[in-house]
Symmetry: C2
Subunit: 418 residues, 2 copies
Amino acid sequence: MTKLIKMGQNAKAASRILATLTTEEKNNALNLIADEIEAQADFVLTQNEKDIADGRRAGLSQAVLDRLLLTDKRIKALADDTRSVANLDDPVGSVIDAKVLPNALRLSKRRIPIGVLGVIYEARPNVTIDIAALSLKTGNAAILRGGKETLRSNLALVKVIQAALEKASLPLSSVQIIDDPDRALVRELLRLDQYVDMIIPRGGAGLHRLCIEESTIPVITGGMGICHIYVDESANLEQAIDIVENAKVQRPSVCNALDTLLVHPAVADEFLPQVAARLAESKVELRAAPKAFSILKNGVDVHPAGAEDFDQEWLSLVLGVKVVGGLEDAIAHIHEHSTEHSDAILTNDLENANRFVNEINSSAVYVNASTRFTDGGQFGLGAEVAVSTQKLHARGPMGLEELTTYKWIVLGDGHVRK
Amino acid sequence: MTKLIKMGQNAKAASRILATLTTEEKNNALNLIADEIEAQADFVLTQNEKDIADGRRAGLSQAVLDRLLLTDKRIKALADDTRSVANLDDPVGSVIDAKVLPNALRLSKRRIPIGVLGVIYEARPNVTIDIAALSLKTGNAAILRGGKETLRSNLALVKVIQAALEKASLPLSSVQIIDDPDRALVRELLRLDQYVDMIIPRGGAGLHRLCIEESTIPVITGGMGICHIYVDESANLEQAIDIVENAKVQRPSVCNALDTLLVHPAVADEFLPQVAARLAESKVELRAAPKAFSILKNGVDVHPAGAEDFDQEWLSLVLGVKVVGGLEDAIAHIHEHSTEHSDAILTNDLENANRFVNEINSSAVYVNASTRFTDGGQFGLGAEVAVSTQKLHARGPMGLEELTTYKWIVLGDGHVRK
């Protein structure tokens, strides 16, 4: 038996116990974890220092090192976040639907945990705590696989979690972490369908593709957004400048940031130079299709768009710009290039707004707002597990409910099928 | 470009149009399909006769041939079933959830079609019409791949559907069928993730495993049921005999039929001979674990259970029988052997009923009823696409709602994220 099969069996066994816990018992465990994180801060920080030292030697960039770094303040934030998860509503056990059939069978659908989650993520130690807390809250066991650059920090954090689980008299296998950076283990995890019920990749397009290709377990794909804003003829242009700036500039490295600006030809001459001037203040580089380029070519950082520029998730201060023929053309462009994450129309025309909302089937479709709102916290879900752009199970920001499934409960009185 | 990629592109284009149809337009198309099935009955029957003749030459069993066979009466039933689908409620467009956020963003979740469904099924011409109707009703395009034994019948039926689609001015690519029995095309379909959003296999364990192993598209797995009934100490034994007989005998070839009977030791001596006598009337063969065997060994068709006998989906008049230590032992047995399709407890003890319902997380969990009710029609869903035993997206009988997903619609008034 391989180490991973053993982990899978232990996780499945733990999940049976977690599934029957009361909300109170789960919250108690979460609060114990928060306390333990604070109590063992020195241990975690020491292990993190070693990761950071290795990362420095390996020549990781300052930005990446900052992502790996834990500090007293960040440790405190991890504990506080865990306590916040304890305060969220518990979706498990709630009845989604209930009815009495004509033959008097009583039928209901009850929310239950999914079982065992496999979570694969990049080097961010906070994800270790985040996912462990959300899994426990929803009665799921988790097998974690974090980036190798924070292996020591992650192992330390899982040790802390397990110390708290022991105090809560819960199985230590409720939260496990793969302690070997060998990549072959990722592939093995992806084929552990006998024990793992759901794979959540949190990382770039490459990780998602690996999971899609290799996994025999259902995968939540997403996290990649080629996001569009279409500025219609009737848009409030002043508002539009603010929205485009916000969507592009406020946090360019995330999946709900703007990638492509589409503009109605009747307002292109007026709007494009104004929005370009505003974006230039934040040093945004524009990649403009021919018509937009001819309007913008005297601007500061404007280049003709290349063949691939409208299929890019920029994740940086770059923006594709194109003058389209109108609404229909904008919709066609989005159908062709969107990853169905977040797409917006800015308009004052109700018919056009409705048509956009009806015909664009992205996970989040906006009218007169920035795409930056696609987020579990912003949508009021209290937490965010991932942003799904797939069609099954969950779309858009996933909260606690999306870490549950349901069972049908059928209560009879000696019923047999006729 | 391969033929399948072309089919995928055409299906995706058709799905954009289907997604915007009104319920009335979809129902009109369904009724036209029903009319066309009746009008072209002779054409379909002629093609079916050729399939049957080939099947006879190939030495297919009478049971299989009967499954392939179309008759005037069955053609009429296909048309009627299509009209029934037109009469079902349309889930598309309904609002699942709506709220106003503190910043006045108006947020709602709207049901939309999934997009393009890939359906792989065995030789049953009725599935061609069934799936086409359910897909159209929910605004999805479908790419079908039926068993090779009914290829001519299926091609004829899709021709009939497309004739009706033309009359309804809908894209012919709304319903397409792979017209080549080459198995390599199944594998190609399973990797068409750029165009196909969901794979529904309707067939045996081998087909499901192939899809799990090969598909890069989310797969609805299920259809395989190792189903249990546990007869508790306090069960009404007379009722229990009726329920066990119903679950095993009424239609033994289907996934919700009973596979294993577990019995509390306190009632085994009384119950087992009685239930065995009843089952003997239907010529059920029993495979009994040692304790049960020692009670039943003088019965008509009783054999000692082999090592694998409790991991069998019998699909025939065979039943595994085991005396367990009690409720806890029964739950442990089900956890180990169930495929999480349908499992039942027969008891008059409320605490035991609750514990069983809480700890067994199968798709359908029964108290005092036959497992045979796990069915879209029986559960009042109006239709059945498949029975899912997976955890994501859908569990148990899938109706029209499970052929939809949702999008978030966000209406603002110039909102930017702070």
